[in-house]
Subunit: 445 residues, 2 copies
Amino acid sequence: MGGSTVEPVVRESVGSAPGNLAIASLARTLRCVECGHETRLEVHQSCPACLGPLAVTYDLSTLRGSVPSDRLSGRPRSIGRFAELLPPLSLPWSARLDLETTPLRPAPRLAEWLGVETVWLKDDTVLPTGSFKDRPASVAVAFAAAQGHRAVGCASTGNLAAATARAAVRASLPCFVFVPAGLPDSKLDPVRQFGGQIVEVEGPYDVANRVANLAAEAAGIGVVNITLRPYYTEGSKTLALETFEALGWNPPDAIALPLGSGALLAATERAISQLREIGWIPSGPGPALLGSQPDGCAPIADAFDAGSDEIVPVEHPRTIAESLAIGDPGSGYEALRAIRASRGAADSPTSEEVIAAIRALARTEGIWVEPAAGTVIATLRRLREAGTVRRQDRVVAFLTGAGWKISHAVALSRVGSAPIHLDPVHPDLSQLHVGPRPEALGGAE
Amino acid sequence: MGGSTVEPVVRESVGSAPGNLAIASLARTLRCVECGHETRLEVHQSCPACLGPLAVTYDLSTLRGSVPSDRLSGRPRSIGRFAELLPPLSLPWSARLDLETTPLRPAPRLAEWLGVETVWLKDDTVLPTGSFKDRPASVAVAFAAAQGHRAVGCASTGNLAAATARAAVRASLPCFVFVPAGLPDSKLDPVRQFGGQIVEVEGPYDVANRVANLAAEAAGIGVVNITLRPYYTEGSKTLALETFEALGWNPPDAIALPLGSGALLAATERAISQLREIGWIPSGPGPALLGSQPDGCAPIADAFDAGSDEIVPVEHPRTIAESLAIGDPGSGYEALRAIRASRGAADSPTSEEVIAAIRALARTEGIWVEPAAGTVIATLRRLREAGTVRRQDRVVAFLTGAGWKISHAVALSRVGSAPIHLDPVHPDLSQLHVGPRPEALGGAE
C-alpha cells in the first residue's frame, strides 16, 4: 500500500494460515426492520409476519469496550477481518473468498474540484470483478456454504452476476444466473468465464426473479440477492468497517454513496451503529450519509427532496447508471430513514453531471469509475454547491465500481476530445501544446 | 491482505508521509547490452555507439550484505519501495504514482490443473489500468518529471496507452498518445478518460513511432517506450522484486511470464541478478525463466526451439493476444540469452490453448485474465506436459493483465457454454443439475 493510501495504525504479519483463524460470528437472529418480528438465522427472504425486509441482529456484549487494535491484531486484511460483525461464514470458506481490504485513498485534487478540504476515496474498483458487489456476493456464498447449500445463484445481469459466479468458484459451488431471455452476450460473458450456468427465462426481469425463487425452493439453490438477501446485505457493511479502521476509528463528517435498492446505505448505517454500540467510534452525531441516485431513477432522492415518507416507484428508469436503475428499491424506506437520522441528504444529478464527474475523477486522481460511482461524485459536487456539504468537511466517497466494463457510458463521454491529426511527412508539431496542463487542478470541467 | 495471499514476513506502519521518505537511487550509468558502451543517465533511446538496447547500471556496494527486512522497514508497499534499484524518480512524484504492491496468490487448484505441486500467481490484474504496464509507465513518467520534462507520451494503442495517460495524471503532466489514424474509438477510450491527447498520424504504426520520436526532440515530450525506454523497462523489475519479497527471499524454481518485446523477461533477469549481487537471494541456479509467446507471433520462442541465436521477425502477427503481437521484439536477444542462462525455456501455445487456460484460471482461482496472461498459463501447461517443468517445482506465474477489457477474445471463448431455457409458467427445474461441480477440481478443460 503506501503511496497516498491511508494506512491503518497497526499492521501485522498474518502468518501463513489465515484460514485457521477462528473468529466466531456474533450474529444471533433475523429481525424485521418494519415490524420487529424475530426469527432464527435461517433462509428467509423477508419477514414471515409482514413481508418487510429482514436484518441480522448481533449480541455484541463481548466486544463492548474492547480495543480495536487488540481485537484485530494478527488478522488477515480481507473480508473475514470483521467476522464477529458478519453472518456465520464457515471461516475456511471465507478465507478462500480472498477479498482483500481495499485502499482508502486521499484525493486532494478531486477535493479541490469539489471545493471541499478533505476527501478520501474508498476504492472498490480494485476488487476481483471490479465492483463492491464482490463483498455481499462473497458473504452470501460463504453463508450458503456454511449452511450446506449445494449450489448458489442470483437474478442479475450486471455486477452482481459476475461477483456471484466468481464467489461460487472460490467456494467450489455450482452457480446459476437467472436472466430474461435474449440479453446480449456481452452482459453474460463474465458469468461464462467463471463457469456460471446462464438460465434464461422468457419474460421480463420479475419473471426471472420468480423462477429463481422457485428454483431456490425446489432445487436447494441459495439465491444470494433473493433467498439469502438478509445475509447478502451484511457483506456491504465491510466497506464502512474498513473505512473506519483506515481512518483510525475517527469518523469522517460525511460518507457519500450510491442508492440503488438502498441496501448499501442501510448496511452502512448498521455498521456505524454497531461500531458505536461497541465503543470503537464515538456516539453522537455524524457521519452524515449522502445518498446518490441518477435523475432518471431517483425514487429515494425524490422522497427526500419532497420531505415525504412515501417512496413512489419509478416505472421506466432511464439512466446511464445501469446498476442504479432500480425503480422500486427494496431497502428504500430503511435508506430514507437512515439518511434523515444521520442528518444527511440525497440528490440526483443528470447524466451530463455524472459524465463530468467521472472525467474529473479520472483526470485529477487517475481512477476510472463506472457511472454509479460517478453519480456519487456528481452528488457531492451538487451538495457542496448547495452548501449542504461545507468546505471544511472531511468526506469519504465510496467508489463502488470500475469504469473499464462500461462501454456505452464511455461512448457518451467522448464529446469534446477531438484528436489532433498530423501529416506523416511534414508533421506540424506546433499543434502539440506542451505547457501548463489545460484543465487547471481544482478547476471545473 | 491475507485470505490466501502470501504475506511478507515483516509489515510495518508506514506513517502518513511516505512522500517524504528519502531513498536515493543507486543508478549510475546507461550501458549498452550489446557493445558495453557506457553513457550518462540521460535521455537516450539506444546506444549512441551501436544502436543496441541500453540498460541502467547501478553501484550496489552500499546494499551488499544488508538485511532486506532492516532495509525495507517502514517503507510504503508501493512502486517506490525498491527505489535504490530504480532510476532516480524524484520521490515526491513516485509517491503520488500510488501503485500498490500487488498480491502474490497461492493457486492450489490451478496447480492441480497444471499438474504442479506449488503455483503462485503474481496478480497485476488489480493495478489501476488493469495491466503490469502501470509499472514501467509510472517509473518512466516519474523519471521524466525528475528530469524536468514538461510532457510525456507513448506510441501505443493498448495497455501502455492507458497506463501512460494515467501516470501522467498522477504527475500532473500533459500526455500525448501517438497512434495510426483510423483506430476504433474503443481502443482510445481509456486515454480520453484520463485526459490524454490522441495524436493521429496517417500511416502504419512505425510512422506513428517515427513522429513520436520527432515530437520528443522538437517539443520536449518524454515518450516512455521510445526516448525513455531504458528507464521505462526498469519499472518492470518491480514485479520480480515484489515476488521475491513476498516469498521471504526464497526463490521459486521457475517464473513464467509473457514475451512481447522481451523487455519484461530481460528486466526480470536484471532484478534477479541484482538481488544476487546484494545477497538478498542466494547465488547459484534458479529460477528458470519460462517465456510465453502466442503461436501466431513467436519469434523468440521459435529461436529458442530451433536452438538458434538469430531471431527472425514475424511480418504479420496473427493472435488473440494483441499485447504480444510484436513481430520484431526490441529486447528479443536479451530475453533469449536470459532464458538460456537461467536454464529456462520458451513455448508458443495456440489460441485454443490460450482460451482454455484463461477459462481454467477463472474457474479454479476466480481470476479473469487477458490473453497475454492466458498464454503464460497455457505455456506452463505445455512445459509441464513436456516434462520441462516437474511436478515438484515451485512455480510463479506473472498475471500481467485483466480480462475485463478484452471483448473479442471473450467472444471466442463462448463456445460450449449454452444457456438453459426455462418456460416461465411451467419451468422444468430438473434441468438445473445441482451436484458435484461439472469440471472436477484439477481436471482438464
